[in-house]
Amino acid sequence: MEIVGGLATVLGSPVLLGWIALAALVGMVVGAIPGLTASAAIAMLLPLTFQMEPLAALAFLYVIGKSGRYGGSIAAILFNTPGTAASTATQIDGHPLARRGLAGKAMKTATVSSVIGDYTGDILLIAFVGGIAWVALRLGPPELFGIYVAAFVVIGSVIGDSPAKGLASAALGVLLATVGFDPITGTPRLTFGVYDLTGGLGLVPLMIGVFVLGEVLTQVVRPADPPRVAEGGGARDTLTWADYRPCLPHVARSSVIGAFIGMLPGLGSAIAAFVAYGEGKRRAANPEEWGHGALEGVAAPEAANNAVSGPSMAPLLTLGIPGSTIGAILVGVFLVHGIQIGPTLFLTNRDLVYALFAAGLVGIAMYGLMGYFGAAAVGRVIARVPARGLYPVVFLIGIVAAYAARGSLFDVWVAIGAGALGWAMRRWGLNPAAFVIAFVLTGGAEQALRQSLLLSDAGAAIFLQRPVALGFLLLGAAVLALRARGARRSLPDGRPT
């Protein structure tokens, strides 16, 4: 019943409610701008939150993530361009509806479905996260290292099309995370005599570089054309109970699919949306309408991609393993405020965690209301903002935000380098998300590895002697083998990428 206390904390603080409302609006707008992701917005806004109370900072960024996932549907429906990767599946049926003058109906369906999916995911998170944390508290360093290795392999090989490119991205993240003093012996590593590198590469400038500057560099190559709004309106363009009732079974199924996928690190909302869309079409009474403007084809992916949000916090909060880029960014907020994430978080900051969950519940209601009544207006405003006016501002804010994190010009150099790397990774098919998540995971993984070896009389064999650790190592190996096999099959000559 800690969630009741959390809700009382949130609802009793007008300032906190104001931050949550602002986050709901910012996330919806950013998500609806093609090419600008919620991750980029969160990375850019991260330094602004350093002056805030920990709960306000976390709630602000967490709700931007939720609202941003939903906001992508606005662009998908109105502009035929997904605002985020997670809304690509929504575009398939959403835009045909808009072309028929039913944009309002499609957007309201997306809003209601996103809200139901998000609430389903959050309620499952709140119900089960305490139990997961209880189990996590009983894991020792060898078991944690096994989980870390499985997470590296899953994140590296599952995100993106190519397991080899995903693993390369993750390995690059690990390598760069080891720059600085060794945490056990204090030996400088990969610093090349540069004093500024002895403290390691900062997480915030790195993320600003990869997600903000990398995206701006991508956009300068091909600045997006001003999107066209498919106008709806009229009596036919309202959502009625009769319209929405056939969507409900799809929304219920997709919410469960999204929540399950959300718990698995690395898979994310785009995969959840496509799995839910495919499953919905397979079971639909009207499969011939899917792809040509079926409301159910909007409801299913939208419920799934938002249901991911809550459960994706479970591995982050209980094990310190971020399952998504937004989770990786939230790690930075926890660290800045001196809060240790992982199993002990539920002992040391239990009230904060449940207040954060409560903020998520309130945030869902807020973006739901804003979206239901204001999504069309947001779409019209975004259509009037040309890319050539937006991205230079994002570029300049990114630079100053990298400086503002620690008041360090060296961090700005790190951000620029990371921006170039992020652009190059996108350009040549590597995976920036796997890179950043691996960067974040490395500290905990190395600590677990070294602690395990200090505990062990048998060296690395300790990982084979502990069944849980061995199980996770085998899981990682199995996932990698399956992905390599899948990639091999997907190519005409059978060679994996």
Partner: protein, 151 residues
């Protein structure tokens, strides 16, 4: 075409892995035991190199997108000059110069608009970050407008 797209990427990753491995081998403070500060960087470098080999040896699943690298290089050069400018002439003036250049790179051509960005952007960012949030602004080592303008 597919073969060409993946091979240079793979080879670049192999080179990065080898360079990372050599750098990891030079890490000191290792007492000769099995595991030390070198272990994780070496494992990462080896994985990077092996993944690079796999990528170089495989065809691209799809051709790379068309690119206009010249604009990317120009924007990166602007970023570098901007930071050097901040260090020498302070944040306000450097932003006043960088803002119109960035807008021009994204296709804004009207001189009046560019002049407006040169004034409005540094002021807005200064007020947001250095006044409202209280971050200490980076001062120029040669000259700084903040010494003359009370903002």
């Amino acid at each position: 075409m597919g073969e060409d797209a993946n091979r240079p990427v793979g080879l670049a990753l192999v080179a990065a892995g080898v360079a990372g491995g050599l750098a990891a081998l030079s890490i000191g403070g290792w007492t000769g035991g099995e595991w030390g500060p070198r272990t994780v960087p070496l494992l990462a470098a080896a994985t990077l190199a092996l993944a690079g080999v796999a990528i170089a040896a495989s065809p691209a699943a799809r051709p790379p997108r068309a690119a206009g690298e010249a604009r990317v290089v120009l924007l990166l050069a602007l970023a570098v000059l901007y930071v050097l400018g901040i260090d020498r002439i302070g944040y306000l003036l450097a932003t006043g110069l960088a803002a119109p250049a960035a807008f021009a790179l994204f296709g804004v051509r009207k001189p009046l608009r560019l002049v407006a960005t040169a004034v409005a952007v540094p002021l807005a960012l200064h007020l947001a970050f250095f006044r409202l949030l209280g971050v200490f602004p980076p001062l120029g080592s040669w000259f700084d407008l903040l010494d003359w303008v009370p903002l």
